[in-house]
Amino acid sequence: MIEINEITKSYGNGDNKFQVLKGISTKICDGDFVVILGASGSGKSTFLNVMSGLERPDNGNIIYNGNDITKLSDNALTEFRRKTVAFIFQQYYLLPNMTVERNVRMGADLAGNSDYKDIIKAVGLENEMKKYPSELSGGQQQRVSVARALAKKPEVLFLDEPTGALDEQTGRQVLDYICKLQMEYKFTIVMVTHNINIAEMANTVIKMNSGKITQINTNEKQKTAYEIGW
């Protein structure tokens, strides 16, 4: 359970001060699939970064299972990220001079996870284990970053436009892997996207506009990536 209370965040100071988040509150339950939609510049990424402990808000609280992460010291916040969350970004940010296996190991070691090879298999990359990121296609690279994130067995997975750099077909495939793994490992998903179709896969859709939440919808039934057929 993540409780978010009245978060504000601004960048710059003096005349250049620009308030990106203007008081955001919401609740996310364990095992939810939350999608955040909104126009470019509406503060989605900022919200995601603040919520996940990558950045600190100016005001407000973010409470994970009764534990307020805005009150944590830097080291404790690092420890929190280590134990609780994982990330997938639009640019995959793999380590270029390490093999696929090593990249996944970066996540696995944090959780002392020794069966990370199963996850590499689960995203269909068992034959590419010894390859370097530069030898893979975009979709394959994103699957590596999925495996890397899930190998650390997070409670919450944060994704910032994970399919933004991929074509429809490949994007759908990546999402499908993520959904399948969610069934198995039961983590919470919070995803920022521009693609309204993906929203149908979620059970909660948060719409943002200029730093505020304008609408929260809940879907009765979650669809799979193939059912929405975008």
Partner: protein, 389 residues
């Protein structure tokens, strides 16, 4: 009219990063100019020497000048060449995309590489300062070399040859070297420049990483950091080598030569060691900012980041220190046994253990302070850094 290749201008800002080369060049030229100038000037009084005593003293002076010029000049020359090549490679690595786009647009390698002549400026600046500095120090240096008035008065003359050989020619040579090396480095398919990633690893490396699979990520990153930038291993080793050799040599110089020589060697040694160390570590961090940021995102602690990136250089620096100790011992032995052999009053040279220990302690303290500063720097790398493309 500007030629087409000039669209890519290597700015003054890029050149200012080469300050390390300037400093090394400055030290090299300072020392060499002083001794060479002295050598030429003392050569002129060769014919008016009368006594045997004068002759022996003269020979010793000339040999010292030669040894110092060759040893320090040679060492520093090699270092500046390696530093320069390293910087050019680094520059090309960082600006791969821009250079790739220029190539894709149809600029030839030579046209792009021509712009790299500007790297020669760093040598010029350093050499010119060193040259000027040498002339400032020269009066006291001359007095000192002949402080017992064994030789007749030696006058300072200005030798154009030295200016040519130590300042102008090196500048031209380094500018040419930059162009040639850049040309060589750019000679790869455009796509390799445009693609963010490294080219496929060599087979042996692949085999190695395949063999042992249960090494932890941190250990692997350590090995990777070391092997992916071998030039940095050299620089860090060189830094500790310089520190060790120069500080210990300086202590012996006080007995063998003079306090001024000792002070000069000490200062040059410390400056060289610190600049190289700072440059090398800065490069390690700059080159790995993304990796560090990603590790921080995933929740690796600052300690783990430091350990995996900087920790692997500690043994390297100790090896450098040991080599430096051996080097200075060998060098002084040669000087004392061969050069000063016939001169009375030069104390026999013995290895000075306490001095080595003092030098080692200072070395460890300085090294750890530098590492601490950099680990604080790593701490400041925000986890958002990775998103700033």
């Amino acid at each position: 009219m500007r030629s087409a290749g000039d669209t890519m201008v290597i700015g003054i800002k890029d050149i200012s990063k080469l300050i390390g080369i300037s400093i090394i060049a400055c030290c090299a030229v300072l020392v060499c100019t002083m001794f060479l100038n002295f050598y030429f000037d003392v050569y002129q009084i060769k014919d008016i020497l009368s006594s045997e005593h004068e002759r022996i003293f003269y020979n010793a002076q000339v040999s010292t000048a030669k040894v110092v010029c060759i040893v320090s000049g040679g060492c520093l020359l090699i270092t500046s060449v390696i530093t320069l090549l390293f910087h050019i490679k680094h520059y090309i690595d960082i600006h791969k995309k821009e250079l790739g786009i220029l190539k894709a647009l149809g600029y030839s390698n030579v046209k792009i590489a021509r712009n790299f002549w500007i790297f020669g400026i760093s040598i010029f600046v350093g050499a010119a300062i060193g040259f000027a500095g040498a002339f400032i120090l020269m009066p006291s240096f001359y007095k000192l070399q002949n402080k017992d008035k064994i030789l007749p008065e030696i006058y300072i003359h200005f030798h154009v040859d030295i200016l040519l050989y130590l300042v102008l020619l090196p500048t031209a040579a380094f500018a040419a070297l930059s162009i040639i090396y850049a040309c060589f480095k750019l000679k790869k398919p455009v796509i390799n420049l445009l693609k963010d990633n490294l080219q496929a690893k060599s087979k042996t490396e692949k085999k190695m990483s395949g063999r042992i699979t249960d090494r932890s990520f941190i250990d692997d990153l350590k090995r990777n950091t070391l092997s992916s930038r071998k030039s940095l291993v050299f620089f860090i080793m060189f830094a500790s080598f310089c520190f060790s050799a120069m500080t210990q040599m300086s202590a012996s110089m006080r007995d063998l030569s003079s306090t001024m020589m000792a002070g000069m060697i000490l200062i040059i040694g410390i400056i060289l060691a610190c600049t190289t160390l700072f440059l090398a570590i800065t490069t390690v961090i700059k080159g790995n900012t993304k990796t560090i940021a990603m590790m921080r995102v995933f929740g690796y602690s600052q300690k783990e980041c430091c350990r995996s990136l900087l920790g692997c250089y500690r043994p390297v620096s100790y090896i450098g220190f040991a080599l430096g100790t051996v080097y200075q011992y060998a060098l002084l032995r040669i000087m004392v046994d061969i050069v000063f052999r016939e001169i009375d009053g030069v104390p026999p040279y013995k290895f000075d253990f306490p001095v080595m220990m003092i030098s080692l302690v200072f070395f460890i303290v300085i090294y750890e302070i530098v590492m601490y500063c950099y680990s604080e720097k790593i701490k400041k790398i925000s986890v958002k850094e990775i998103m700033a493309e």
